[in-house]
Symmetry: C2
């Protein structure tokens, strides 16, 4: 297909596709003339994946290029992707108060030690968790009451995530599942959490009745 049809199928404007081609996020099409290239369904799939990593995962271009390069290796290393290449993006900017951030880092180290989590020396995810804990503090709230419960939930979820990855038949499929699951999994979990919160809130706070109960018979 021509670039116009690729654009229509993937729902991505032509100038954006050209930008992705220049940035190496999309492999070049097969040249049919010096100025025209032909694309196929793999380009449609790749474009959709790039959009998810950009729009939903908010990953930097360089990280996406790195992940896609690994995905295109003949026999990619699944742990390399799940262990290191996939970042934990939180949207939190570095806390403005260094003391708060230092305390948060100590809290994270305690958590990791107590749970016996096997983590690489890479500080990426530690930094991410510490930044969120510090952000709670910065807005006058304390994450402490949530931290252990969330870590319990994260452990259970990760077991299912790895099951989801392991079900793919080859390493290429496993890496694809790991990348998609990491990014879209956060959105799925967040949306379901909001739903479940509404349900719990309806049970706990739902009926707001300041009037008196109807009097029973005397």
């Amino acid at each position: 297909m021509r670039i116009a049809e690729l654009s229509q199928k993937a729902g991505v404007p032509v100038p954006t596709i050209k930008y992705y081609l220049r940035e190496g996020l999309l492999p070049a099409g097969e040249l049919t003339s010096p100025n025209q290239a032909r694309y196929d369904d793999r380009h449609v799939q790749r474009l959709r994946l790039v959009r998810v990593l950009l729009d939903v995962g908010r990953l930097p271009i360089a990280t996406i290029r790195d992940l896609l390069t690994k995905l295109d290796e003949p026999d990619p290393d699944v742990h390399e992707v799940l262990g290191r290449a996939l970042p934990a993006t939180t949207g939190v900017r570095e806390s403005s108060d260094p003391a708060v951030l230092v305390a948060a880092h100590e809290r994270v180290n305690t958590l990791i030690a107590q749970r016996g989590w096997l983590l690489s020396g890479d500080a990426g995810t530690r930094q991410a968790v510490a930044e969120v804990i510090a952000a709670f503090q910065q807005v006058g709230t304390d994450a402490e009451g949530l931290l252990e419960h969330y870590a319990d939930a994260a452990e259970r979820i990760a077991v299912h995530d790895l099951g989801f990855v392991a079900r793919a038949s080859d390493n290429e499929g496993k890496v694809h599942a790991a990348v998609v699951g990491a990014v879209l999994g956060n959105s799925l979990l967040a949306a379901l959490r909001r739903m479940a919160q509404e349900h719990e809130s309806a049970k706990m706070f739902g009926i707001r009745d300041d009037t008196c109960q109807a009097a029973g018979p005397d």
Copy 2:
């Protein structure tokens, strides 16, 4: 304090503060002359909250204004915030294939019915979950293997979230905890999930050894 000091304390540039003032995200300071206003620590706290809702929660300005208005009510309705005002933002754009989205909506309705979740007629969170399920499909993956496990996790997390909200002493504190917890809670959960994935991956895929085991004694 003057606006320059407010800017420094909250880590937000002066032109951005002026924009928030115009948009009603920050209450006006106390006028000390026709061109100067005085701000206090409540403005610092509010600015930090606005940054979290914008940068981390990626909430639209109008939604943030609505949430802050509720927060400033004398006795805010907690369920109004947890039940309706807080959106489920996923970053997913509407799927390009309507048939995929329709099927995803049906899956969401089945999930809600089976779990007996009490939800308002408002379609916001249903739409959010359906969009993510459709997005999995669009990139050639199926969320089905994760959905029930994530819903289980979401239920457990929501119970702790409501506990976190209920611990605040008054309704203003409860609404504040609900807003902060909804947005930063997603980031905390996402970052912990990445950590736990690395741990699980290290156990499952960590040792990549294509060489033979050392031979034992004959």
